[in-house]
């Protein structure tokens, strides 16, 4: 198991931001999605966010919904995500689960934390779980040495940024825009302002920026002020366009473009 903090520190020592790539497990199949993740690792992703498909993804736009829906229909769940975790961590990247809360709640928080740690996972990003409701998860994460990544948004008050950073371990996920996942034309000024505010309030905690990043140029812009750049929909788009080996290769190509972007 790699602590996310160690991965981010290593990137920092190299004088760059970390690259974090997201794919939901199970689209177009469990195996092809894992192949995609491995191609992203080979292409330069330091951390892979492994999405657990969920029937009611209120934080996701049409692209991620389109990949998650068939995976839900096919019965893909936590067990498949744990398989992906093992594959990614064996390939040398940090594996973090990204899941809406109910699939984990249903699996059982304590059991989930134990199984995730055993599979080699680093932690969990929880888009619809705020620290206020996370008592069981905070305890389980402590018991198993897992990182817990909560989110902050441009609308977060200073007080909430402080309390969210205090409850997090690994990094904090800064939502670059108000809205759902999906590629956007340009990097908003809101992201830069949010990160600046975050650093003033929680200087010790790494902060990574996601939502809307899709190109090497955008990644480069964000890498200039954040500890990590998170890219999701753009990877998913590659597999939606070509749900096969060609899509896997395209995801790898995108990782290379982004990895070059954050180094430029």
């Amino acid at each position: 198991m790699t602590a996310l903090g160690d991965t981010l520190a290593k990137a920092k020592a190299d004088g760059r931001a970390a690259l974090i790539g997201y794919l939901p497990v199970g689209y177009p199949s469990v195996q092809v999605s894992i192949d995609g993740m491995l191609a992203m690792v080979a292409g330069g992703c330091d951390i892979i966010e492994i999405g657990v498909p969920y029937s009611d993804p209120v934080m996701d736009g049409p692209t991620i919904q389109a990949a998650a829906e068939p995976a839900v229909q096919a019965g893909v769940g936590i067990a498949d995500a744990l398989r992906a975790v093992t594959a990614v961590s064996e390939a040398g990247a940090a594996a973090v689960i990204m899941s809406y809360w109910n699939p984990i709640d249903r699996y059982g928080v304590a059991r989930f934390a134990a199984d995730l740690a055993a599979a080699g996972g680093s932690g969990v990003i929880t888009p619809d779980l705020i620290p206020d409701e996370a008592g069981d998860w905070l305890a389980a994460a402590d018991e198993h040495g897992l990182d817990r990544v909560f989110l902050v948004a441009p609308s977060s008050t200073d007080a909430r940024i402080v309390s969210t950073a205090a409850a997090s371990r690994g990094f904090v996920y800064a939502a670059a825009v108000m809205g759902v996942t999906g590629a956007r034309e340009s990097v908003s000024s809101a992201a830069r302002e949010l990160v600046a505010r975050f650093r003033a309030l929680a200087p010790e905690m790494p902060v990574c920026v996601g939502l809307g990043v899709s190109t090497g140029a955008q990644a480069g812009e964000i890498a200039a002020f954040a500890d990590g750049v998170i890219v999701g929909s753009a990877f998913v788009r590659r597999l939606l366009d070509s749900p096969d080996a060609a899509g896997v290769a395209a995801a790898g190509d995108l990782a290379r473009e982004l990895a070059a972007g954050i180094r430029s």
Partner: protein
């Protein structure tokens, strides 16, 4: 006789972040927390503000037509085997109880200075009520409605559009109420600075379960007074249909401290609980998290929401408000399923014996009364919340009974 609930507080009060026992809370993206905090604060401030309350009371009286009547239904009662009285929310302006809540939330929207409202709707009644209040109060209005429901409730789609609202048919997932809520949440996260979400039932994240209850409790506050005056005693049973649970909480709340009064929620049993095709979250579900709160939920072993089934669009929802889950677990209220067929029998019976065409949602409560009447006998009194009128359901019912022209 000492009753097990004798120690209950007069009203059930959730904690500061909306927990009713193990249920409720705020399972939301951080991006919404600031808006939800502001809304909670504004709600509490306006509840304590006599001017706001007077303005709302004035609207409920002069615009909605409150108090709604209490009607003894003699011929229906003969069949039921007990005395049945209906609380006539069907006679409200726009045709259901939904307007009570919406007027409160629309006034609150004005108070917090937002210019746009969004809403989800299943049967279209909450959407129509929201579009109505938006027209009245000069707010921009977008209503999300599952595509399947836009077909089942075409009349209400036309009403909303006539009222000046934008209706967005939702084509994701099951294309019903739960997906309309997902889409409304996505809109809210994106536009939260300008937009308030007028939620239609006692589900969702805090403060909605509490806020919607407080705006709907007028139903039971009135009914309790009316029945004491009419009959001289409290009813034995209060019955209401439960989708998300707002009309039920609305009529239950005043009676919660009356431990001798049974509170019975009727869930949509669809084709029958054992078929798996139903919308009975409490009777047929397990606790989980959906749409911002922990509550009973129809979900599979992976934690995926199971699509619900009901002939009634307004009850076709896989979740339920957290206070109902709590009332169930502490034993203060009972929840039972009513099948589509039972509901439609009651729909036909009320239409023919009393000249009142109920909403199919409300027909579930009537079907519950028909069963409960046999259990409590002719001396018993059942108060039924007739949450809405059936105009919107004429097409569905005509098809069901094979009487379409």
């Amino acid at each position: 006789m000492t009753h097990p609930h004798a120690t209950l507080p007069p009203v059930i009060v959730p904690d500061a972040t909306g927990h009713f026992g193990a249920y409720g809370g705020r399972f939301v993206p951080e991006a919404l927390v600031a808006a939800i905090d502001d809304l909670t604060e504004a709600f509490h401030a306006t509840q304590a503000d006599p001017q706001f309350r007077a303005e709302l009371a004035g609207l409920l009286r002069d615009y909605t037509g409150r108090p709604s009547p209490l009607t003894d239904v003699h011929r229906f009662s003969e069949v039921a085997g007990a005395r049945v009285l209906l609380k006539r929310e069907d006679l409200n302006h726009t045709g259901s109880h939904k307007i009570n809540n919406v007027l409160g939330q629309a006034l609150l929207t004005k108070r917090i200075g937002k210019k746009r409202v969004i809403a989800e709707t299943g049967a279209g009644q909450h959407g129509v009520a929201t579009a109505t209040a938006a027209a009245l109060m000069d707010l921009e209005c977008t209503v999300y409605m599952g595509e399947e429901d836009t077909r089942r409730q075409a009349l209400n789609v036309a009403r909303m559009r006539l009222l000046g609202a934008e209706v967005v048919p939702v084509t994701t997932g099951s294309r019903t109420l739960k997906d309309a809520i997902n889409e409304a949440m996505r809109d809210w996260v994106t536009n939260v600075e300008s937009t308030n979400y007028v939620f239609g039932t006692v589900a969702g994240p805090h403060p909605f379960p509490l806020m919607v209850r407080e705006y709907q409790r007028v139903i039971g506050d009135e009914a309790r007074e009316q029945i004491l005056e009419r009959v001289g005693r409290l009813p034995d049973v209060v019955a209401a249909c439960v989708g998300g649970g707002s009309n039920a909480i609305g009529i239950f709340t005043a009676f919660v401290p009356d431990s001798q009064v049974r509170l019975v929620g009727l869930e949509a049993g669809g084709d029958g609980i054992d078929t798996g095709r139903h919308a009975s979250s409490i009777t047929g579900g397990v606790p989980g998290v959906l749409h911002g709160a922990r509550s009973y939920l129809l979900q599979d072993e992976n934690g995926q929401t199971i699509e619900s089934h009901s002939i009634s669009a307004g009850l076709d929802y896989p979740g339920v408000g957290p206070e109902h889950s709590y009332l169930n677990d502490i034993g203060r209220a009972e929840y039972r399923p009513i099948t589509d067929a039972e509901a439609m029998d009651a729909f036909a019976l009320l239409s023919r014996t009393e000249g009142i065409i109920p909403a199919i949602e409300s027909a579930h409560a009537l079907a519950g009364a028909l069963k409960l009447g046999k259990e409590i006998g002719p001396e018993g009194i059942i108060l039924v919340n007739l949450s809405g009128r059936g105009d919107k359901d004429v097409e569905t019912a005509s098809k069901y009974f094979g009487i379409a022209p």
